[in-house]
Every structure is written in structure tokens, then in C-alpha cells.
């Protein structure tokens, strides 16, 4: 173990050349410098997701901080056979954001679940440098936009708003089966767009 560690002691530049998966092995050995590179690579995407879900900068920052400290402390274990580090990090952020939303009032959650919340983001907080802002991400956004409104709405209320299907059914005054069916139809349509997206950067 110390050999692995000392081999990368040469500096931050060398750490930056390592893949996320290799960095996570060092993070598991409490390497703060390796963790910092992981943070550099994923903090913007993590914050963007938390902000989209929570709608308020302070809550989104708390969620992002909680998620990254959980990763550092090893409360969440990375399994490279299951997902890319990016997907795994965002999964943890999503989970923490849902917890935060469920602690807050329904009003905030309904806003979060509504499409177009991102428009409220101050222009100065936007950045075009995000790796996510590429062709494939735009295509996926377009595919989501093109879904029938009622399908998109249940997906957004569930995933971004943190509502359960029962809550969504009562909010929309629709039968539970209808809500689940719309979720399924919408996700299947997005899945059908997936061909060719497998190369989406992790």
C-alpha cells in the first residue's frame, strides 16, 4: 500500500493524470490530495444537480458538502464494477438531495419538481465550461423536452422533486397506476433515444 501511495507522491500533476477509479483507491487510503482531484472533477456537476433539485444555493451547497464528505469518510463505498465515479458521485448527491427535500416543505419540493426551475439560476452562476454541456447532454435534454408533458412531469417530480409516486398521484389527482404507467412510458422513450449515447462521458 505504501508503494502505491509513494509512487504518486511526486505531485498534484501526476494525480491529475490518474483515472477517477485509480484516485478512488487512494481516497480509500485517506489521501486528501487524491480526493481534491475527485472534487475538482465532479464538484460542478454535483452542485448543479443539487441546485436543480433544491432550488436554493445554501441548501444545494449543504447537500454537495455532505455528499463529498461522505465520500471522503468512506461512508459510501465505490464499486468500480457497478458505475463510473461520476455516476456514483451524482447518485450520492441525488440521494442526499432527496433527503433534504423530504425534510423541507412540500412547496419547495413542488417548485423543484417543476420543469424550468433552472431558469431562476442567476446568469453569473452559469458556466459553459461544464463537461456535461456537450452534444449528448443536449440530445438527452431535447428528448426529455419532447416527451408528452404529463410523462415528463411525473419523471421530474419524482427524480428532481423527490416525491413518491403516491404523493405525485395525489398532487395530480390521478390514479396511482396512471402515474406509474407514465413514468414507465417516459423512461422507455428516453431509453429508446439511448442508442449512440453510450459514449456519453462518465
Amino acid at each position: 500500500m505504501s508503494r502505491l501511495r509513494s509512487s504518486v507522491r511526486a505531485g498534484a500533476d501526476e494525480l491529475r493524470r490518474l483515472a477517477d477509479e485509480e484516485l478512488m483507491q487512494l481516497v480509500a487510503r485517506n489521501d486528501a490530495d487524491a480526493f481534491e482531484v475527485i472534487l475538482e472533477r465532479h464538484a460542478d456537476a454535483a452542485f448543479a444537480l443539487a441546485y436543480r433539485m433544491c432550488g436554493r444555493q445554501a441548501i444545494a451547497e449543504d447537500v454537495t458538502q455532505e455528499a463529498f464528505l461522505a465520500i471522503w469518510r468512506g461512508g459510501a463505498r465505490y464499486d468500480r464494477t457497478r458505475a463510473s465515479v461520476r455516476t456514483w458521485v451524482l447518485g450520492i448527491v441525488h440521494h442526499r438531495a432527496v433527503d433534504a427535500l423530504r425534510r423541507h416543505d412540500v412547496h419547495a419540493r413542488r417548485r423543484a419538481g417543476d420543469a424550468g426551475l433552472e431558469e431562476s439560476l442567476e446568469a453569473s452562476e452559469r458556466t459553459d465550461l461544464q463537461a456535461l454541456d456537450n452534444e449528448a447532454a443536449r440530445e438527452l435534454r431535447d428528448a426529455l423536452e419532447e416527451l408528452p408533458r404529463e410523462q415528463r412531469r411525473v419523471i421530474e417530480l419524482a427524480y428532481f422533486g423527490g416525491f413518491t409516486h403516491v404523493e405525485i398521484a395525489s398532487m395530480l389527482e390521478e390514479p396511482i397506476g396512471t402515474v406509474k404507467g407514465r413514468m414507465r412510458l417516459g423512461l422507455h422513450k428516453l431509453r429508446d433515444h439511448l442508442e449512440g449515447w453510450e459514449a456519453l462521458p462518465a
Binding site: 486528501a32 436543480r52 451547497e61
Partner: protein, 232 residues
């Protein structure tokens, strides 16, 4: 693909919106149809974060995260260095990601004293150190659990004083769903918020250690929210 009456639930499940995910997970263990549906739809849901508007994490946020990480890394290195220099000729054995690497940082004198008890179990017993997760009210503190041969010690730095009439009480949990059980470990902190607390229970089989504020004399059941928890 065979059909299953629960297949409709897969979409709600991967979106995190199913009311009772635990029982659906039990169903998944027995149903290949639903497992395949979940795997397929999870790939879509994993990409949903890519649809959000880009936003930058502020410099302050990154700084706060790294400040905590560096403080904890220093505590861990200090404990690791001490652990790597046992008093006798045999060296501690270290294996796996949870065991500390040989430390490099200078060892703070106070921390050294705090660790002596934890390290007194003999040179060949490996030492394990874990960082505690703290409640937001204690975000300025740093706490590690030093474990050796089933005996544990909490090393506390920068905790806020307990309210007048209260002490800190240490609880242990055995098993994920178990209730916290009280220990005899009641403590206060110095003006700097420091303490070293040995845990008077064998840590074997213990899954989690918690600390709460309790009235002087301690409680049989926690009467306040945990200030910190650490996986044992």
C-alpha cells in the same frame, strides 16, 4: 421477456419514487423480469443529471470541503504514524483500505497522549482509525474512533461545550436496525472542545457509535439527536 405484475413498479423504483423500496428490493431478488427492467431503466435515470443546467460550485464551498478533509487527514496521519511505531520490535500489521498507511505528518503532543491508551494493547494488534460524521451543529469539530483489539477510544477535537446541566453520552448499536444501547461513557470537553474517551464495551459486533447530549448522570435512551456517529 415474461411479464410480471410488479414490472410497472420498476420505473418508480429507479426514479427513487416507490413508496416501499425495501419490499420491491425483496421482490427483485426473486424476479428476473423486474431485475432486467430495473437494469435497463437505471441506465436512463443515471443520465438524468446530464440534463440539468450547468452551475459552478463556489470557491468557498470547495474550500470548506477541503478544510474538513485536510483536518481529518491530519488526525488520521497522526494516529497512523503513532500506530506505525509500536513500542516493541514487532510492527503493527496493516491490510485493506481501512487500515492506516504509514503516517508522514508530525504528531501533535496532545493527540499522542490521547492515543496511548488506545495503543496499549500490544504491538502486534492492528489499529484502525475511523472519522466520525458530525451533525451540522458540530461542523467545526473533528472526531476519530481509534480501535484496537476490540477496544475503542474517541478522540474529540473542537466540539462545542454541552449545555449547562448536560453531558455527552456514548451509545453503541449492534446491527443496522438495532436501538442504541447506553454505555458508561459520559464525558465533557475542555475549553478547546477536546476530549479522549475510552469506550467501556467490547467493539466486536458493534456497528455504530453515537454521541448525544444527555442530562448529568446519563440516560437509558437517547433524549436528543445524535451529535456524531461513526461506523465501528
Amino acid at each position: 421477456m415474461n411479464d410480471c405484475e410488479h414490472r410497472l413498479d420498476a420505473a418508480a423504483y429507479v426514479l427513487g419514487a416507490i413508496e416501499d423500496p425495501e419490499s420491491y428490493r425483496e421482490h427483485l431478488a426473486t424476479c428476473a423480469t423486474c431485475r432486467a427492467e430495473v437494469a435497463e431503466l437505471a441506465r436512463v435515470v443515471d443520465l438524468l443529471p446530464a440534463t440539468v443546467a450547468p452551475a459552478a460550485a463556489s470557491r468557498e464551498l470547495r474550500g470548506r470541503i477541503m478544510a474538513s478533509v485536510h483536518s481529518e487527514a491530519e488526525l488520521l496521519r497522526a494516529a497512523g504514524e503513532r500506530a506505525d511505531q509500536p513500542p516493541a520490535r514487532a510492527r503493527g500489521s496493516f491490510a485493506g483500505s481501512l487500515w492506516l498507511p504509514a503516517g508522514a505528518a508530525a504528531l501533535a503532543a496532545g493527540l499522542a497522549a490521547a492515543l496511548v491508551l488506545a495503543l496499549s494493547g500490544g504491538p502486534s494488534v492492528p489499529v484502525r482509525v475511523r472519522v466520525a460524521s458530525l451533525s451540522p451543529s458540530e461542523s467545526g469539530a473533528h472526531v476519530v474512533l481509534v480501535e484496537r483489539g476490540g477496544r475503542g477510544e474517541l478522540v474529540v477535537r473542537g466540539m462545542r461545550q454541552a449545555p449547562a446541566g448536560d453531558v455527552f453520552e456514548v451509545w453503541i448499536k449492534r446491527g443496522a436496525g438495532a436501538q442504541p444501547r447506553p454505555t458508561d461513557a459520559l464525558f465533557g470537553v475542555t475549553n478547546a472542545g477536546d476530549a479522549s474517551v475510552s469506550i467501556p464495551s467490547d467493539l466486536r459486533g458493534v456497528t455504530e457509535i453515537l454521541v448525544t447530549h444527555e442530562p448529568v448522570g446519563g440516560s437509558r435512551h437517547p433524549t436528543s439527536a445524535p451529535l456524531l456517529h461513526v461506523a465501528a
